[in-house]
Amino acid sequence: MTCLPSQSGKKLGLVIDLDACVGCQACVTACKEWNTGGHMAPLTDIDPYGGHVDGVWFNRVHAYEHTTEMGGRTVNFPRSCLHCETPACVTVCPTGASYKRASDGIVLIDEDKCIGCKLCSWACPYGAREFDTDVGVMKKCTLCVDRIYNDNLAEEDRVPACVAACPTGARHFGDLGDPSSAVSQLVAERGGVDLMPELGYHPTNKYLPPRAHSKRAASVAAPALEPVRAEGGFLGWVDRMLSN
């Protein structure tokens, strides 16, 4: 049923730190690798080695130049499904293929019911849904629903593939419906924001804006090298011989 369920209060989602993201695309490839064999498999590639490469991806990283009076900076910006609280992509679905889970708020597609009318992708302001022209159905981020509850994985691996892959810790996963959770506290501390809040979709995922510019030089310079202490014994003799 594409009517929105009454929510249990649990809102699983991501928190993305735009200050830490370096745009390495590790989350993009990790997502593709996991999900092309996962719940919504395959993530079809069309003409992958040709001149008109196309294909389905759940996560895409843009780069922007943000210029203010404080100066300009490059901001890398990962974009994926925000698992909105009021997702119009679900309510416009004519077949009931799109649904929002009552238990954890994840927005999913039942591919066996999807007729490929593409209306849900029109209803999503964020471009989170991509049509698979090969299979003829719509596809989207599952928040790695086949990882986060997977008893076959070690507990530390039960996070979305993008989160597990991020080398800078720019992606955080957790329950944003619980104000005491680590992700909720991070959002409160860093002033996390909703994307396009004026459209009223109430996205679950939050973005942490880059921190303010600092006038100071980097405070993490490496300590100066110390002179090597003279070694005695055999190694000292080798050192002296080679130094001559």
């Binding site: 843009h62 943000h66 004519p94 992708s121």
Partner: protein, 311 residues
């Protein structure tokens, strides 16, 4: 938005078909038009033909058309599903009205009631089509107070133009209907001009700033996530029309509004069968013009996802 021909033809053809159906139902119900066998057969056949061709064309837009039956299930939340349900329900009074008119040669009594029901269902179906577009918040040009009335006006306009051609074709042309067609076309023209004016001055609150959560200053796209156009850009980043938009708007005004009005004005001064010929020509020219109008409706609509690509 990408103007897929299947959808452009679907909305234009079903609009004209339901408009014609509604007018046949109301004018038949009030017994203003004669229950002539051939008029009924051709009139109802034409409207059902337009509707069926449109509905078949719309399934061409689907990735899995063999599952289209599932689209009748979610009428509680989805305007697309409501459109499907409304279009099927419309066939019930349409069937009764058609049987009454064509086989029993009568449009009074229960047949007339079926005609009114048919007209009501046709109007509801056109409303559901309009609401599919009007309800989409990411597309500001569609999510406006102009969209739903536009669909209703254009449906009535093209429907009355076809009915006028039909009546003249059977030599029972009515000046009243001809004048109504002209007035509806002028109303449509005015509505389209007002819609374009509104869209051209539209200030959309959603910007690259709110899309990325980066407050203040300017946000410029440095690099896309991919080198080739992807589904999002092919489906929602369509741009060609903005270059040719002004010219296509002129063509729309000429074909959909100006020429049909001119042709119908000439019809007033001509004898039968020239009236039938020019009335038919006016209907066909207007239909072609409305295809251009509907193409522009898609091509000029800007989806918020384009903000992520600096478009």
């Amino acid at each position: 938005m990408h103007p897929a021909f299947s959808v452009v033809f679907f909305t234009t053809a079903t609009g004209a078909g339901y408009g014609l159906l509604a007018l046949l139902g109301v004018l038949g119900g009030f017994q203003i038009i004669p229950p002539d066998f051939w008029l009924g057969l051709v009139g109802l056949g034409l409207s059902l033909g337009l509707i069926m061709a449109g509905l078949l064309s719309s399934t061409g837009h689907l990735g899995r058309p063999e599952r289209a039956w599932r689209a009748f299930s979610q009428w509680r939340s989805s305007w697309l599903s409501r459109e499907g349900v409304a279009s099927v329900i419309t066939f019930i009074p349409t069937g009764l009205f058609s049987i009454g008119w064509v086989f029993f040669g009568r449009i009074d009594g229960w047949v007339g009631i079926a005609g009114f029901l048919m007209a009501g269902c046709a109007v509801v179906t056109v409303c559901t089509t309009g609401m599919i577009y009007a309800s989409l918040k990411p597309i500001a040009q569609w999510h406006s107070r102009f969209t739903l009335p536009g669909y209703l006006i254009f449906s009535g306009m093209t429907g009355s133009m076809f009915l006028n051609a039909l009546l003249h074709g059977f030599a029972v042309g009515s000046k009243m209907l001809l004048v109504a067609s002209v007035l509806l076309t002028l109303l449509g023209w005015g509505w389209k001009l007002a819609t374009w004016r509104y869209n051209d001055r539209l200030e959309i609150p959603t910007t690259a700033n709110t899309a990325t959560g980066l407050a203040g200053g300017t946000v410029r796209s440095l690099e896309w996530p991919h080198t080739e156009e992807n589904y999002l850009l092919k489906e929602m980043g369509f741009r060609i029309a903005r270059k040719h938009g002004a010219r296509l708007r002129q063509i729309t005004q000429l074909l959909a509004f100006a020429l049909p009005v001119l042709l119908l004005a000439i019809v007033l001064a001509l004898p039968w069968p020239l009236t039938a010929l020019l009335s038919l020509l006016a209907a066909i020219v207007q239909f072609a013009g409305m295809l251009v109008e509907r193409w522009l409706f898609f091509a000029e609509a800007k989806h918020t996802v384009t903000l992520y690509y600096g478009r």
